[in-house]
Symmetry: C2
Subunit: 400 residues, 2 copies
């Protein structure tokens, strides 16, 4: 398993500053390109109010002839009506022209940033030739592409996995962005994942759905689902390892799960203002959905999030969040551990030394919350961040 | 309409410091009593994990012979298993004994404070005779009773209304507490409401449900539903204004709605760390439930709450919250005003001077958000608070 930031075979990428962001040091236009047509699929936000690029890209997928994805940051092109749709299509036309694609529909588009402003076409026009001429297969180009997607992110998010299939080395690389407005649901934040494995459009569709289900759909920063969430998987088949057996497809799925999981966790590690990375393990529910509902209620409670921020072992906030989420259970069946300390067991509070648990939370950036029910065998792992005064400061002062 | 803090006829109240809270200046034990038996009904939290007092009081209502409500603050007696139930019953036994009630079941009990600690019986035992001997019909006793319910509240919450019915003056007075863990649902925070009108138990039940629906159920501080939410209506019939006509019952309902609405708004005005009181008006939806769902999603979004805190007219956060709440609508039908400024109309962003809207938000403690759909005639008014660094500070340091 390699974690070098090297692209799969036949992929190029670039990121430049074109001027949507005023700060010239910040990149705001990225391009991911395959030298040959790709099988591609995506998952997108289920927010009814979705960005124009989501509407445009979603309509083009799954597809067997995708050549690339153009992404701007600093402007989400969401809540922009008919003009927004025209602007998103125009972006793909411009890139398709420069790359000499057979069809405009072979280019996908994503935008992220402030909602409700029209895209500045003049600024983007100047950036397109730059980003195309900057395309490269090396790590620096890939790193810039990941930077060009960033908004309030403090670091670019990339992950790579490699496996040998029928004697051929197959690679999956992905980039993602996101630090707030993170509460994906059957969807996710912006992420482009590339592989040189030979997959059909249907296979990319099924694989990305499964991978997103256990990664991007299991994170929340603030419970606010974005209008722009998009994950796109591109498979260009440049490594010709023959027809894939079910077992080999499983192997690729498993690598893809690792890449998406690493990217999803990186988003939480970069959560705005966060001082704790919180893993919530829920087990013993009837279904995975029940476990998910409990985990998300705990993750989205500002009272749980602030307690962890302050190292406060106020575990009643966790139990009460489970209680209001709508999942049926017996209070007498429920147990809770925080950072390995048993605080509540089968419906009864346990004695514990508050200072000891508090210090343990304060001294570790990683926090684990384990909720155990007794209704079945289902479970889930969910990741979230704490809520700090710095999150409030960052978000009280975003556009003005 | 009188807003003097005077109790209805035949009611007494008191609040004392018994020692659950370490600070001797803070009251932590309250008692509301009627000289004669009351019709009484309540609405309680729908959290599956509910406090022992909720279980005990809920089982006794509606009832025609209630004599009083005993309330302690500083300890919620929630997540305390069988011992918690025994402790809650014991509290009502002690008070019933001191008041010489015919049955222990004629006393109701509420507890609010930290979750997961057993009640200190020894401390409470000393407080019971004090609070009973302190009972009085005057404003000072009532004020102390409202203070004895407080946790992180910064002021006691009381409301009174008066009407003349068949020549008799009828009064409704209520007290409430709450400043965080506020997201009632078919339920509410602690509130005791008293009237000297002659109502049957069934009438109190139907009236309190209706009143709560448009008041306590329309507020949210942090989206975290408490384990202890309880609203109790006591009607002792000491003003004998004869049998009530439907129109007179309507009049009483309307007064009760005003009292609960004033108390619910007072909770939001005292929301932890808040610098803005936000009114969300949603109109033009198919049903009231749709309007409620939209309003609650907007109210509970940390991104909307922090934007208001910072005077940031980042209206895309409001529209996108409406988009993910699950209510179906056409984006092209939606319009938004903030503090009267039209920012988004029928799916299209309007030009506006950001500094002007920002200053307007910053200079007014009251913020209004108006979301207008075009799907029907239903509407709702919902109240919430902004999210500040002070809320985080208060909640990161609650038990430790």
């Amino acid at each position: 398993m390699s974690t070098d930031l090297i692209l799969p075979k036949g992929f190029l990428s670039a990121g430049v500053h074109c001027g949507i962001k005023p700060d010239r040091k910040k990149l705001d236009l990225s391009l991911f390109v395959s030298e040959s047509p790709c099988s591609a699929a995506g998952t997108f936000t289920t927010n009814l109010v979705c960005g124009a690029p989501v509407k445009v890209s979603r309509a083009r997928l799954p597809r067997g002839t995708i050549r690339g994805v153009v992404i701007n940051s600093g402007n989400a092109n969401a809540c922009t009506g008919e003009q927004g749709i025209a602007d998103a299509c125009w972006m793909t036309e411009q890139i398709a022209g420069l790359l000499k694609c057979e069809s405009t529909d072979d280019i996908l588009v994503c935008s992220t940033g402030v909602i409700g402003r029209f895209l500045p076409r003049e600024i983007l026009s100047k950036g397109f030739p730059d980003v195309v001429s900057g395309l490269s297969a090396n790590a620096a180009g890939y790193h810039n592409a990941a930077r060009g997607m960033m908004t309030t992110d403090t670091f670019p998010k990339q992950a790579t996995r490699e496996a040998t299939i029928n004697g051929h080395s197959v690679r999956i690389s992905g980039a993602a962005k996101g630090a707030a407005m993170i509460a994906p649901n059957m969807a996710t934040m912006l992420s482009v994942i590339m592989t040189d494995a030979p997959l059909t459009p249907d296979q990319t569709q099924s694989m990305i759905r499964k991978a997103v289900q256990q990664s991007f759909n299991c994170i929340s920063v603030d419970g606010h689902m974005s209008t722009s969430d998009s994950v796109i998987l591109l498979a260009n088949g440049q490594v010709n390892c023959g027809e894939l057996s079910d077992q080999q497809l499983e192997e690729i799925q498993s690598l893809l799960n690792e890449v998406t999981s690493e990217l999803a966790q990186a988003i939480i590690r970069d959560a705005e203002g966060a001082t704790h990375f919180i893993t919530i393990d829920v087990q013993g529910t009837r279904t995975r959905e029940e476990a998910y509902t409990v985990a998300k209620a705990v993750a989205d409670s500002p009272l749980v999030k602030t307690a962890i921020a302050g190292g406060d072992p106020n575990w009643g906030r966790i139990i009460s969040a489970a209680g209001y989420c709508g999942v049926a259970f017996e209070e007498a069946d429920l147990s809770l551990k925080v950072n390995g300390f048993s605080l509540y067991e089968k419906g009864t509070p346990l004695p514990f030394i508050a200072a000891e648990v508090s210090n343990n939370i304060k001294q570790n950036r990683e926090t684990t919350i384990e909720l155990t029910f007794n209704s079945g065998d289902a479970s889930i792992r969910f990741w979230t961040s704490d809520l700090t005064a710095e999150y409030v400061r960052l978000n009280a002062d975003y556009t003005t």
